[in-house]
């Protein structure tokens, strides 16, 4: 009777917990639908060449205004190219300059004359990128130097102002687009989304599931039977791993057909790393749900773990954008290691050798957190 493993218990626990998930439409949407929607949104945004519209406020100092008409001496290139279309006074930005580019997409600059105070309000609201002030035939460019889009706008306008012929800067021949598979933003994004999906699913699925069951006194009720406690955790983690495989597969298949995402590296390495990632986050999930039975506290704890990693682990953009001193810290975050490992397999053709270290670290992290979590685990 006192067998180490009772298959029947695990089987029925697995089935019950699996049904609990698949019968909840919200869980299916957030687990499967949402990552796909995110990949579609971000994938289309970063794989399609779109027109870029940048709005610029022009402040004309009083000495340059003649007969109440806009006379923009400092941006005289607009007149030179004859591309300004006046759309009427009701339009805040009636002056348009279009720079055609078959490689980078159209750049459309919209200019509007306004008072300094209005320009500042528009800048604060994100309606404009840049303010140009005419100071006796010398342009002054005002923008947030930490805003990369404003910087780009300034550089482009500066370049436009120094060229006589607009066609000279259109379709620049030195730009050779790198759009082969594996080098696009979507290629960078998908492994990150898979890693993030595993983290979110483990943290919410396991942690929240345990906390909620403890709060409902269901854990207490279950352990008041001969149910083996380890079997409950095995089933809970097993169900989550199965769901994570399913969710990741669906995301991969979708992006394979829509964006042509492919796996360049070893499939075996991918499986090993995927399991290691699940172990790591399952361990952390058990640890943070070890004591509390309050779902609001659980919410806070889970968010405290997932939010920093979502932002700092290089899921949507490289973590190398953060200050140099923080990079060694960010590199040891489980999500950074997991996403980095997946990217090395997806994009760089990585194999077991490349993922051996992150796999080992992820399993160790999972094991340590799981062990400590179990030590303090409150069943009642």
């Amino acid at each position: 009777m006192n067998k180490l493993i009772r298959i029947n218990q695990i089987r029925f626990l697995f089935l019950a917990l699996f049904k609990e998930i698949i019968r909840e439409p919200g869980v299916l949407f957030w687990g499967i639908g949402f990552p796909i929607l995110m990949s579609v949104g971000l994938g289309l945004a970063f794989t399609q060449k779109t027109d870029t519209v940048r709005k610029v406020a022009v402040i004309i100092e009083s000495h340059t205004i003649q007969n109440d008409e806009l006379k923009m001496e400092t941006i005289s290139f607009l007149d030179q190219f004859g591309k300004i279309d006046s759309k009427g006074s009701e339009n805040l930005f009636p002056y348009k300059l279009t720079v055609n580019d078959s490689v980078l997409g159209k750049n459309i600059f919209m200019f509007g004359r306004m008072a300094w105070s209005d320009a500042i309000i528009n800048l604060k609201r994100g309606n404009i990128n840049l303010i140009i002030i005419d100071k006796k035939n010398r342009a002054e460019y005002h923008f947030d130097p930490l805003n990369p889009d404003a910087q780009l706008c300034y550089l482009k306008l500066k370049k436009l102002s120094t060229h006589e012929d607009l066609s000279a800067i259109e379709n620049e021949s030195e730009i050779k687009p790198l759009t082969v598979n594996g080098m696009r933003y979507i290629d960078f994004l998908v492994p990150g989304l898979i890693a993030m999906g595993v983290m979110m699913a483990c943290m919410w699925g396991i942690s929240y599931g345990i906390i909620e069951k403890r709060g409902k006194k269901l854990l207490r009720r279950m352990v008041a039977t001969p149910m083996k406690r380890s079997h409950f955790l095995i089933a809970l983690i097993g169900v989550r791993l199965s769901m994570n495989i399913l969710e990741s597969l669906i995301l991969f298949i979708f992006t394979y057909f829509v964006f042509g995402i492919s796996i360049l590296g070893s499939l075996l390495a991918l499986i090993v790393l995927f399991i290691a990632g699940n172990i790591s986050f399952a361990g952390i999930a058990v640890f943070i749900s070890a004591r509390t039975s309050n779902t609001e506290i659980g919410n806070g704890l889970i968010n405290a773990i997932v939010m920093p990693m979502m932002i700092l682990s290089g899921i949507f953009f490289s973590y190398h954008n953060f200050p140099d001193w923080s990079i060694p810290i960010l590199q040891i975050l489980p999500l950074t290691m997991f996403a980095g490992g997946l990217r090395s397999i997806f994009l760089e053709g990585g194999g077991i050798k490349q993922i051996a270290l992150p796999t080992l670290i992820l399993i160790t992290i999972g094991g340590v957190f799981f062990g400590v979590g179990l030590k303090f685990f409150k069943w009642h």
């Binding site: 089935l15 019950a16 008041a224 001969p226």
Partner: protein
Amino acid sequence: MLILIFMNKFVIEVKNVFKSFKDVEAVRGIDLNIPEGQFVAVLGPNGAGKTTLVEMIEGIQKPDRGEILLFGKTWKDNETELRQLIGISLQETRFIDKLTVYETLRLFASFFDLKRDRVCEIIELTGLEEKQKAYTVNLSGGQRQRLALGLALLNEPRILLLDEPTTGLDPTARREVWAILNKLKEKPDASMILTTHYMEEAEQLCDQIIIVDQGRILKSGRLDELLDANNKNLDDLFISLTGRHLNEQTDQD
């Protein structure tokens, strides 16, 4: 001779048990012996220490002092064995929302290595035939309580521990639960402890009544032993013992 000795033994022995939570003394030196086949009601107001006492007997809480034996064995080294012999129903248990009544019973049956036949018997016993495919989240309070009772009865327990099994139920639902429990009395080897603050429930279901308040046993015995000319019912008795009505709240948990 040996068989007779075993039969005379108490199935539950509570020996001078104390339990505190921070600065609240929930149970203060309770002694209790329950022989096989006896149905016992632990009657007391909210906060009297009933739940703490029963949870210690269930092995969910550990006493700070004293000893609890079930079939002469402590929880410490015999948990696996004792879990096979008891059935419990906690106060306010909820189930997995999106699992049906049948699936919930099947899950708990797997913990005892029981097959689907036993699940069907329990569904019939608790009158949940029409609700066996309903999600537990959609059950009424009475149906949920019958399911909780069904889970407690799955393994045909030798000791049944029910913590306020009818609290919050309407009179009809309460009588349905009583009807199920009355059927159990037909089994001579089944013992039961039931906590309640309903006098009628104690009178209807139990052979022995233990009145507790502020973590202590005030009085115990059969109903006819407890009542007399001055105390015509249990509420009168409780007032004479404590100066309060049974349904008044106390400060203790």
